[in-house]
Amino acid sequence: MIIQNTFGITREPFQRDKPELLLVQEAIMEILTIHAQHGGFSVIVGGPGVGKSILRAYIEQLGKQKENEVISVSQTLHTYGKVIRQLALSMKI
């Protein structure tokens, strides 16, 4: 509340419900969008804490828009069959 009162803002900062991107992430997002239009296979790597999860959360948010569909698999160490089932679940099949 201190921050909200001081700055006169309505949204609580430091919340992850609507991730905001840094300039570097915005540039990456722009490229990912272009590749999505033409068919892409993208790899985003980075050490812990550099902002991969924020980027992923941002793309997941795009799935709420009418023009995008986002399928996300985050559980690890699974066989191909299990990943397919997770994909199907994510696609509501």
Binding site: L22, A36, G51, L55, V73
Partner: protein, 165 residues
Amino acid sequence: MEKELIQTAYKHIRDQKTLYTLIDEAHLRDMNTLRKLRLLFDTFPPKHNLILFGQPKLLHHLAMQVNADLKSRITYSVNLLPLNDYDLEQFIQRELEIVKLGINTFDEGAIEVILLNTRVTYDCAVTCVMAAWSKRVGKLISCPIARTQKKNPDPKIRALIYGKG
């Protein structure tokens, strides 16, 4: 199951949607699994982006000769790096501008203290909270204040950043 996935993907494209498939922690997955997934997504409609997220060793795995077939299909790859000092300083200034605070809210020493650490997100959060405090009490944030708050944040500031829990 795969056939249904492909059909659903085509349905989304017919509905004028762009498809994103995100695979997290890809460096922990078996390369053969990734290979099969890549082959599956080859049959997906073109308006689609398969995005693998992982740690840098994923690129090392992909660089191996045995995985050349996978690597050759990558259309875009990027290695995200932590913000450098210049970027971080720019970020702090941009945030200060947004909340209409002067860029001299932090003195030179305070900025140096903030840049001394790589825990970027946490530091930025502390920075913003300190800026709020600065505006409230009408003081500039000096080096000793910045150092104290970085080493041992005030419990109230900690609660603001991490929530009550």
